[in-house]
Symmetry: C2
Subunit: 228 residues, 2 copies
């Protein structure tokens, strides 16, 4: 998984080589997804060049990509910031996510094998642990992992890519909501998904995923509504 939780200089031990603009993109992406950058916060090129220890060109390219992803916002006057989510945005995101992610779940259900189900369950166990210990960062990472892993089994790269992108739009807000209310209140639909996978019932899987997404977006909506 591309998730590296810390800001350590990222020992390049794993692959061997991979372009700087790519690593910068991944780091920035993780920071946005898992809430190290708050909605509304300004992002400067020069700030990132020193905090990430990279040149200016790679940072510029990474920022462009993230703007294109909807993870960052170009404020017109050459300023870049993490966008705030409006309730209309949540409405749109909810519709699109339900449509895409339920289809991804359906397709994954048709192809998944027992090993892969076991892996999903392992992630879900880690997720429960994070919830029980109140580990917000862990919750965000494991929850994302669950969905990301599942979509990887669907053999539908375009839709998986779209789902990943949408995640970037509400990631920062999810962090805010969790930070405000904790991780307790989230009911766990993942169990339903895994059970239906085992019973080989794609429609049930799709339906459970739709419910999971709906509940998640509802949480974000309520959490953000409390602040607006």
């Amino acid at each position: 998984m591309s998730v590296t939780n810390s800001a350590v200089q990222a020992a390049p031990a794993e692959g061997v080589k991979l372009p700087a603009h790519e690593t910068v993109y991944q780091k920035l992406r993780a920071q946005i997804l898992f809430g190290e950058l708050a909605p509304g916060q300004a992002v400067t090129i020069q700030g990132l060049t020193e905090s990430l220890g990279a040149g200016m060109t790679p940072v510029r390219e990474a920022i462009r990509r993230l703007i294109s992803d909807g993870a960052l916002m170009f404020q017109g006057n050459r300023r870049v910031s993490v966008p705030l989510l409006r309730s209309e945005d949540i409405d749109e995101l909810s519709y699109v996510r339900k449509s895409i992610e339920s289809e991804l779940a359906r397709r994954a259900a048709l192809r998944i094998n027992p090993d892969q189900i076991a892996r999903l369950e392992a992630i879900d166990v880690a997720l429960d642990q994070a919830i029980n210990t109140g580990d917000v960062a862990g919750y965000l990472v494991q929850n994302y992992s669950f969905h990301s892993e599942l979509y990887g089994y669907a053999d539908a790269p375009i839709m998986a890519d779209l789902a990943d992108r949408l995640w970037l739009r509400f990631g920062p807000s999810l962090r805010v909501v969790c930070g405000r209310f904790g991780t307790q209140s989230f009911p766990d639909r993942h169990k339903d998904i895994i059970d239906a996978m085992r019973r080989n019932e794609p429609e049930k899987v799709a339906h459970a995923m739709e419910k999971d997404v709906e509940q998640g977006m509802e949480q974000v909506s309520q959490g953000l509504g409390a602040s607006n």
Copy 2:
């Protein structure tokens, strides 16, 4: 509208100022959308710097954005090319487009006013003209214009953005199909959409749009199938 049909140096008369990487992005985007770049064709940075008369940094940024859009493909060994569409891709695109664009049409139907309907109709007239004269480039531009204009009325920026992105994925192939079979065989669902708009029937609009998308993707599928 951001649609500039010709390759003329684009007299910057309209706004007054706008960054180089932005103009490069728009030009490249138009070239991809309307088929000046064929699927499979390689894209080089240095080639674009001279063909577009821009520096290397803006070109790089534009390419990154288009890769993020799915309009270009990073071939691993730092090579960039226009992606070829596989039939599985068309299947995914068809599902997502039907879901998103029918919803966009529904929402647009709820907000649209007579002036806007008239503008849609004007585009559709130009579209018919392009079809009758066998003007493939005109067909592509007007067809895109119709959808793009319509989605602008839906007051749903995220979904409109997604729809725009998806268009970039099949644009080049659409050009190939049209170039091979001409524009004759496309039935015109746009009339149904406009009629239902006038009668203020959002569900009918959504349904007609779904059919339009389905027919379009079916055409692409058949056209590409003939070559593979």
